[in-house]
Symmetry: C2
Subunit: 312 residues, 2 copies
Amino acid sequence: MITLLAGGTGAAKLVDGLIQETDPADLTLVCNTGDDVQLFGLHISPDVDTNLYTLAGIIDWEKGWGISGDSFFCMDSLGKLGYEIWFRLGDRDLATHLSRSLELRGGRTLSETIESLCRALGLKTRLLPMSNDPVETRVVTAGGDRHFQEFFVKGAWQEEVCSVYFKGAEAAQPAPGVIAAILEAQAVILCPSNPVTSLGPILAVPGIRKALSDTQAPVLAVSAIVGGQPVSGPAHKLMAARGWEVSALGVARALKDVADFLVIDSIDRDQASAISALGLEVLVTETVMRNRDDRRRLARGILENLGVERQQ
Amino acid sequence: MITLLAGGTGAAKLVDGLIQETDPADLTLVCNTGDDVQLFGLHISPDVDTNLYTLAGIIDWEKGWGISGDSFFCMDSLGKLGYEIWFRLGDRDLATHLSRSLELRGGRTLSETIESLCRALGLKTRLLPMSNDPVETRVVTAGGDRHFQEFFVKGAWQEEVCSVYFKGAEAAQPAPGVIAAILEAQAVILCPSNPVTSLGPILAVPGIRKALSDTQAPVLAVSAIVGGQPVSGPAHKLMAARGWEVSALGVARALKDVADFLVIDSIDRDQASAISALGLEVLVTETVMRNRDDRRRLARGILENLGVERQQ
């Protein structure tokens, strides 16, 4: 059993590699819900859905989110009705949000709604939210204190970032199964996700850091920073705002308290000894996943390192 | 100012004729909301929307409901998630339901949500629900006591009808503006809608029958029964269940207390004298509206009869 702490796009790529190399039923994903957002009366869980669609084989790899080949007729019509449509929900994707919102209003927990979506899509992997309590990633820019999606999607992460915080995190409980999934795992993987706003909210839920310390399983992180830049997205701005160096070494410093291993890209091999000096075991390999084969190769390398047997 | 009591498809055809012959700003529609239904957490107002889309020029005339050229990708995806999808909501149409539901949850009345949709679509016609209170048309069949849409859409109106009732009607108030629109109109038109489940719920809202009696305006009804059959839909089954003859004369008997004039089709001219004997003035003309010109011609005939001047 392998437990993954997962954000969106970067995590989904590794997940797609892992399901090529191991039984999807042996994976448990703990997903970031700090960037969940309420739009048009619907509860949207972007990171959960990116992983859900990846596991179902319907993710739009080009965009990195949503369902492949989806249309946007409902969104365009909402635009004509005068609504802001900077957060684009595809017509097929809307079914997921309608279903989740309907069930949440009916009194079910976020965990239960995700479980029911997984069942409907025939998934074998267990997908958990980090928490069933609301945690909201807020980004403070010169322009104001914003929901993460306002900074990320509406503002196309152009604004300078002053700080980031996770509203509600202190009072949040890990979702049922999260702590056990970490404690009882054979290995834990921190996906190549933005360490500030993807892994950050998960690690901010009380009890999760402790479980990562307490688990007997090796905890392996994959650096989302390659050659001093994020593979995608605004991790550099967010790390800089935290005062973290935008480098594999910066990721190592951010995660050294929770991880035992750090996978870094070959391009960053010169940072390996500095990372080792922090007490992390370093794996150097090709980490940029441009296609399905890249994803499979990285997953294989990680599994071999963790001593996980290959499934047929 | 002309006030129309309107169901769905039949009403929409006459409305389309009227807006070709008179200023849309001079029309007020009072729409049936007895067949409103909650689906996927959304509030659907089928008759309101059919008229809304007709006035906006985007109605799908072939289906008689929804938006012309709409797609159904969200519905198909909900089907794949295991939801019943007998009530098909188009992707563009969904925007209307999302907007209305969002506003209703925000505490606005149904009237207000319709007003905001009309404004967004640039409509000049005033569109009112019969009531802002819930009234639910229930159809009792041998199989059970069902929401109108379960009988009409899910069951494709195949079941034998035992009876019909309007749950909540006694306690409902007419929506703001409805009574005044009837009392202050130059003419009132009861659209060629099913007299049981389209006009019936409107007439069941306390105060509306009285306003039709009290108004100084002529009240003209158009028979939805032509040649002993409904132009579309299950009016014959519903009228029979009420013990009403399925004929223009049957419509006359059903509406004689509220109407002064009845427009019947040429094919039913032999019933004119029996209808006159009920105290209704009869207009005989072609009432079946197969295309835009038919709709305009019937509207013109009605306006001439009511003494309403033609607008350019």
